[in-house]
């Protein structure tokens, strides 16, 4: 069953206007009218994708994108308990900022994007000790380890974390990102891939998980 009525239109419009409060009311209406949770999920994701593409072509600003992301995350949290809801992907990601680095904004955005795209996210926070990454990957059965560093002095510890992961959790893929990194450095550190921004992280992730 697929809903096509005014509530669906209102959900689309609320997502487009990044209005979490209106969206909340619409989602309550959707549940009442029996609109499938999966349809709502895809509507929300579709809007996020549309704004992401607009940002990639410089047609919108980063705050606008983040406003949409907040709205979509809020909506997904609300429909998660609806009957028939399943996430878009069935994968767990462990993410964190490496030890010594207090900058977590970039990591928070990436974690938000992963959640919006349906990944189960284990967010270890910032200034995370080396051993905590592999422990979380093992304990949570994660398929992906995402490491972030914002300073040239802290990014170097990624090499050790990646070395640990290759030995202790060899099946997990590793993605790295952050201001001082590059594709070349990521390769040098032994990561599977490098995401230069929040806009490309999902494509890079899908690419590396498909290998």
């Amino acid at each position: 069953m697929t809903g096509t009525g005014p509530t669906v239109e209102r959900i689309k419009n609320a997502a487009k206007s990044r209005d979490a409060q209106v969206l909340e009311q619409c989602l309550a209406g959707a549940a009442h009218e029996g609109i499938p949770a999966m349809q709502v999920r895809d509507l929300l994701f579709g809007e996020l994708e549309s704004v992401r593409k607009r940002l990639m072509s410089n047609d919108t600003s980063i705050p606008e994108f983040l406003l949409t992301l907040d709205c979509v995350l809020d909506g997904l949290d609300r429909i998660r308990s609806y009957p028939g809801f399943t996430p878009r992907v069935d994968c767990t990601v462990v993410i964190g900022v490496v030890e010594g680095d207090p900058h977590d904004l970039g990591k928070n955005v990436i974690a938000g994007i992963y959640r919006a795209c349906g990944y189960r996210v284990i967010d270890l926070g910032r200034n995370v000790p080396r051993e905590a990454f592999t422990k979380a990957v093992r304990d949570e059965g994660a398929v992906l380890l995402a490491l972030s560093a914002m300073m040239s002095t802290t990014m170097v510890v990624m090499r050790n974390i990646i070395r640990d992961a290759r030995i202790l959790t060899p099946a997990a893929k590793i993605i790295v990102g952050g201001a001082p990194l590059s594709a070349e450095l990521a390769r040098d550190y032994g990561a599977d891939t490098y995401a230069e921004s929040a806009l490309t992280v999902i494509e890079k992730t899908e690419e590396v998980l498909a290998r």
């Binding site: 209005d19 600003s61 980063i62 705050p63 983040l66 406003l67 010594g100 955005v109 002095t153 802290t154």
Partner: protein
């Protein structure tokens, strides 16, 4: 010339906050009022600015030390050596006694609390951008005051330089923290040379009777440098 450390507590005046709003808008790329979230973002920006004005009390600490010796690679003071070939070259071409002024400016722990209290990603992004601009403006404000003071004493001053930029490695933080007891303004340096609270700026500037250029960019040929602050003039 005074070499004792001094602490300032600059006020976030209405003029300062208006300037901060303009700068924050420019950084965020908002304020054009054409996007679906424009009104909401403007409201969030205003809330962030109000919170900063209400809760943040910036501090600036500075101290001037005479240059003890100059090599082609570093500028030696009683607090340690500033190891930058570019800056050393600028110092070598100053006239009269040369001084290094060390400065640390911070928005303090109150700003960190503001950031931590914000749970939405868009809100975090906005408050972070406001904080970065605020720290820059506070340091600019000190810079302007310092330049006027130095000028009155018949000296000139260079622009400020921070470790981690140009050829001055981040390890250079230890010289600045050696010159200033930053604990007095609540700033600490981690083993990775990062400052806590994060919205802090550390820098040095040169002062002398005659400083040949505001920045070593004047005689640096690296034209593609993203941090270039002035045109190449070939000076000195």
């Amino acid at each position: 010339m005074n070499t004792q450390p001094a602490i300032l507590s600059p006020r976030l005046t209405r003029t300062f906050m208006e300037h901060l709003k303009r700068r924050s808008r420019a950084t965020l790329g908002t304020g054009r009022n054409v996007s679906p979230g424009a009104a909401r973002l403007e409201r969030m920006l205003n809330e962030a600015l109000d919170a900063v004005a209400r809760e943040v009390r910036p501090k600036v600490m500075y101290r001037m030390l005479p240059v003890r010796s100059l090599t082609g690679k570093s500028i030696r003071t009683d607090a340690g050596a500033v190891k930058s070939v570019k800056l050393a070259r600028l110092a070598q071409n100053c006239r009269g006694d040369v001084f290094v002024v060390f400065v640390i400016a911070t928005l303090g722990e109150a700003f960190e609390d503001l950031y931590r209290r914000e749970t939405s990603l868009s809100g975090q992004f906005i408050i972070d951008a406001v904080g970065s601009e605020c720290a820059e403006l506070v340091t600019d404000g000190w810079n302007n005051k310092w330049n006027s003071l130095i000028k009155r004493r018949g000296h000139e001053c260079s622009l400020r330089f921070s470790p981690g930029y140009c050829d001055w490695k981040l390890e250079g933080q230890t010289v600045i923290f050696g010159a200033l007891d930053a604990d007095a303004i609540g700033v600490t340096l981690t083993k990775d040379y990062l400052m806590i609270p994060a919205k802090s700026i550390s820098a040095v500037a040169l002062a002398a009777k005659k400083v040949p250029a505001a920045a070593p960019c004047a005689f640096c040929r690296s034209r593609s440098c993203p941090w270039r602050r002035m045109e190449f003039t070939g000076v000195p």
